[in-house]
Symmetry: C2
Subunit: 348 residues, 2 copies
């Protein structure tokens, strides 16, 4: 099969690799029908995070189950399934408290499982899915093509935005600011609205992204950044600050922005993979600012979000603004790296 590999900074290739096979009775074999590139894939792509030459990449995909191991009970060949960005048993005690990304028996796409067996990554034609019952979420029937982008976001960005709003404890009536206008930030806007926020300030200076933010529920858009952005948000809230800030970038500047714009007793949700972020605990202490978030356990949220998508209530797939064939995966990375695309969908 063909699958994406990373060979160094800015060197993404589509490689010819052996077809995966069922290895364990809990495995499923999935033919990928849509995958995508994540903002977090850009860290190793840009050489900021270390990578091994030839390593597999990609952790967001949907597809059709082609074969299942003898112990798989919840998905069958022919099912359309959504894969969360981490695989998990969904039965261990950590999964049972809703943190499937810390599953005691789970792991990451493109890495190795606990017995050293390689696990496929998502940006390819086929994936052997370990712990299929605990990992995959099926739809009742194969969905119409137009819903595929919406369902694909549930692999990561929509569940991550949802987690960010939960981490910030967004409540009915809240005024919320969202830092970051990437796919996750946009999904955080949508999540804040679904969780009851009445005012949602999106921080964005990008016309197309701002438009989606507004479509997703943003009531105001602030184009300024850094201190000027904070000043503008404070002005919009009569100097008080927002009840909750959703940090969807992962840089020290974005966290600083979030911290500076919440009111005393405010709450910060954070889902941007932290790169050089420091959190001044004295400041959290002095102003009673709470901070919560992390690697989103999207598996936990997937069934409910799937139902919202299938009911036509939400269209998070609007974050995709470029679709390319898998053979053009290198172009997909370049487009996202250069901010020419918010999020790129890859079709086989």
């Amino acid at each position: 099969m063909r699958a994406t590999t990373l060979h160094g900074a800015f060197d993404i290739r589509l490689a010819e690799l052996p077809d995966p096979q069922i290895h364990r009775p809990t495995d499923a074999l999935v033919r990928v029908t849509a995958a995508c590139v994540c903002g977090s894939d850009l860290w190793p792509y840009r050489g900021i995070n270390e990578s091994k030459p030839g390593q597999r990449i990609g952790h967001e995909f949907v597809g059709i189950v082609e074969e299942v191991g003898a112990d798989v009970a919840t998905v069958r060949p022919g099912d359309f399934v959504i894969a969360p960005f981490a695989w998990s048993d969904n039965t261990c005690r950590v999964c049972r408290v809703g943190i499937q990304t810390s599953c005691e028996n789970g792991g990451w796409w493109g890495a190795r499982d606990r017995e050293g067996l390689p696990v496929d990554a998502g940006q390819g034609e086929w994936v052997r899915v370990p712990l299929a019952d605990g990992t995959l979420v099926a739809t009742p029937s194969v969905p119409p093509t137009e819903l595929v982008p919406d369902l694909l976001t549930l692999s990561d960005v929509m569940g991550t935005g949802w987690h960010c709003a939960l981490g910030a404890g967004v409540r009915a009536g809240d005024t919320v600011a969202v830092v970051g206008d990437g796919a996750v930030g946009l999904c955080a806007v949508l999540s804040a609205r679904l969780q009851g926020a009445t005012r949602i300030i999106a921080m964005s200076r990008h016309e197309a992204r701002s438009a989606i933010a507004v479509e997703f529920g943003a009531t105001e858009v602030v184009a300024e950044r850094g201190e000027a952005g904070v000043a503008r948000v404070r002005e919009l809230t009569d100097g008080l600050g927002v009840d909750a800030a959703l940090e969807c970038v992962g840089t020290d500047e974005s966290m600083r922005t979030a911290l500076d714009m919440v009111r005393p007793g405010g709450r910060i949700g954070f889902v941007g993979v932290p790169h050089g972020v420091t959190v001044p605990i004295e400041e959290l202490f002095g102003r009673n600012v709470r901070i919560g978030g992390g690697v989103a356990p999207v598996r936990e949220y997937l069934p409910a979000l799937r139902d919202l998508v299938l009911a036509g209530d939400i269209h998070p797939g609007r974050v995709f603004d470029l679709t390319l064939p898998l053979t053009d995966v290198a172009q997909a990375y370049a487009a996202m790296d250069q901010r020419r695309a918010t999020k790129v969908m890859l079709l086989p």
Copy 2:
């Protein structure tokens, strides 16, 4: 009047100072009938926090209202009142969201108000209370002497322990560990029980304090500290870790202990004034650990906690293990500094 002043490291004196007077129509004049020494008073006492020679000190007191300004409506001469450790208007928008310690018009005992007028501290005979309506909480009648220690804890330590448990989002059925066996830590044990925790592990190697922890609701006591303490707590929770950890010390070691003992998705409440504490954000991110707390807005919790005390439901005053006359205030500090006393009550 006589009031406590700090003149340098380990130099606490009882000084003769002018009697306070009503200056503003929102002031009340309170005759202090009981005060106490706070763990946080030990930071300047030990010279770790800066202080000015002769500065006033003490922020926990109860007393009898002797005189009120023309605009004071909620307390009258003769009322027994509890003062929170910060004064506030309780009407501004920050107070209305329950963060009276960040009141837009409030301040600290022993400092100056926004117009430069000095404000008395709590370890003295009299206190001019600014913004009396927003600051003081009265009891329906003058309480019996045996309830005074319980009510005095509502000035700070009980409300602070309560805030810690709230910051950690303690829920019914939770397993909670409390780091710190000072008065705040003990009150955090009591608060965790009141907020529904079913297992409460108190970290303490001090016999008398452990006994109070158990009386307050601790189901287990762990004497080990640091890594050994973490290992023991992990053992008690079958390797998983606790749902919530309450950090009631404020050192980097105690925060490290709290971080290491919470499960993935766990929550840390923190109320120890941070001294050299670093919070590794990557770790919070990777394990989805939430952190919340800060300078406790005890004014917010005072009416409800007062009612629990008056109903005889809680006895937080058990944290006092030494009572001294105000004239012996220097001995009170020394006893707490040398850990000969958990908390010292000062009577006029």
